[in-house]
Amino acid sequence: MTRKLSLLCLLAGWLSYAAAGQPPIVVCYPGGPVSEDEANAAMESMLRVVEKAGQWPEHSLTSVFTSRVDECRKLLAAKKPRFTITSLGQFLEQRRTHHLVPLVQPRIRGATFERYQVITLKSGPDSLDKLAGKSLGGTVLEEPEFVRKIVFAGKLDPQNTFDLKPSRQALRALRALDKGELDAVLLNGQQSAALTALELKNPIAPVFTSADIPLMGMSANSITTTPEERQRFAKALQGMCSDPDGKKLCSLFGVEAFVPADPAAFKPLIERWDQGK
């Protein structure tokens, strides 16, 4: 049985990917609170499911994780990964250098995009203009250029407009807002959607909602991977959330499914980023 499977896999050409010495998948999650040891272990979990879905040998895929933006840049440069899982900000920043193309996107609550929101207390500033000079917290602020170019669509420079208070925990930032220690919090779509279940003492309201911004999943180096490899990897990831173990993992991260990335969704963001606006 094992031999048969091996032969099938060989015929399918996976050995070209699974061969020893392949660079690890670089995973960057800026602003995340998790330690690298734990995240690496979680990634191990995901990779075992992907290997199963893609019929790669167990432990043929490896990954390295960082929650620091500067470390992400270093890892991408040093490891030269063929596949990466990064924030959208890191994808846009590193896209040219590493020839990255989006491969799959997560689908969360039925959508492959999200809207960022700036939240304030209802009794506080009711517009971005009135927030000028005041404190803004949130996990997304680890990537201020992303916030400037994409979240605020180049219309507002958060570093020159607000007193930025990046946090590794959205909940902590929201509690600080509730206590009046912060004037506003920038939330991603997943965080915004969960606000209704959160028990805060004071009523809150959004003073800004971004345009639809695609959720980022996995990208690939278009030079060092073949279209077949990319397709194979994408297909394996698409099967992840329907696998019994993978389903639980997807659920753990609030992901319903991974779907093929829509290049058209990324095009305007890439253009905006490259224009530097």
Binding site: P33, D37, A41, E44, V49, K248, L249, L252
Partner: protein, 267 residues
């Protein structure tokens, strides 16, 4: 009387490796023929002596006796679960460790089925063992989070001082390591509060200081780094001056792991 609850697991959701539902078989012990003759009454009488300072052989002999016993009074206690945990933590083989921890869960479940719901230690060792069982299985860990939280909360409500603040320590670490809001129950603020309580109310236990240091490190508070390093020093002192038996070695490794994580070269 020596405190039987000194050794505490590190059953956190750190290792997450997606695997099928594990098949837990009973771990076979060698040299059981060397075990002293042990009656149920004898085992019951000396149950509090079985702990971190007991030899592995003594624990194995006792667990073997418990496997055979039908004594309801003994099975009503946390003894089987506790011994299984001690042995699991001493094992260097992941599969053996997991199987022993799974046995510890079963002993605790038996105790609960016999009406031990009011025994904090039963809930505590159930949670500690369960944490070890799911440690290597992300999907299983995700499924087990609500049960882990409920069991530790129950033990904390019944006896927060058990094992020198063990329930506070476990619950605090659960909140520190679990996936954070909005996808999970992870909550750095709750973790900090619980682990501060553990360190302040039960300062004797080295891990209370180590874990409080970890929560401080993640707290993003002013001067948190200095406070965390200070807690580490205190924890190291407690570890050096106390008689922690077989627990000392794995705890030293835990200190070293965190110290390495926060060393300037790794940040």
């Amino acid at each position: 009387m020596r405190n039987p609850y000194r050794m505490i697991a590190l059953p956190l959701l750190a290792g997450l490796a997606g695997c099928p539902q594990p098949d837990h078989s009973l771990v076979r012990f060698e040299k059981l023929s060397d075990c002293p003759a042990q009656t149920t009454a004898g085992l019951s009488a000396r149950q509090n002596e079985l702990g971190p300072r007991s030899t592995t052989h003594a624990l194995e002999c006792s667990l073997a006796s418990l496997r055979r016993t039908g004594d309801q009074a003994l099975l009503h206690t946390s003894l089987g679960s506790r011994i299984a945990l001690h042995l699991a933590e001493r094992s260097t083989e992941p599969e053996v460790r997991e199987n022993l921890a799974a046995e510890g869960v079963r002993f605790a479940e038996t105790a609960l089925a016999l009406g031990a719901d009011g025994d904090a230690a039963v809930h505590y060792y159930l949670a500690a063992n369960l944490g070890l069982v799911v440690r290597g299985h992300a999907a299983l860990a995700a499924d087990s989070l609500p049960r882990l939280e409920a069991e530790i909360k129950r033990s904390a409500a019944l006896d927060p001082g058990l094992d020198d603040g063990g329930p506070l320590r476990l619950l605090g670490m659960l909140y520190l390591k679990a996936p954070p809001w909005p996808t999970g129950i992870g909550d750095g603020d709750k973790a900090l509060q619980l682990l501060r309580q553990a360190a302040e109310r039960y300062p004797r236990h080295p891990l209370n200081h180590l874990f409080y240091a970890e929560a401080l490190w993640e707290s993003e508070q002013d001067e948190a780094e200095d406070l965390a390093r200070n807690e580490l020093v205190i924890g190291r002192q407690r570890l050096a001056e106390g008689d922690w038996g077989y627990s000392k070695e794995p705890w030293l490794k835990e200190f070293a792991r965190f110290e390495n994580e926060i060393s300037p070269s790794s940040t």
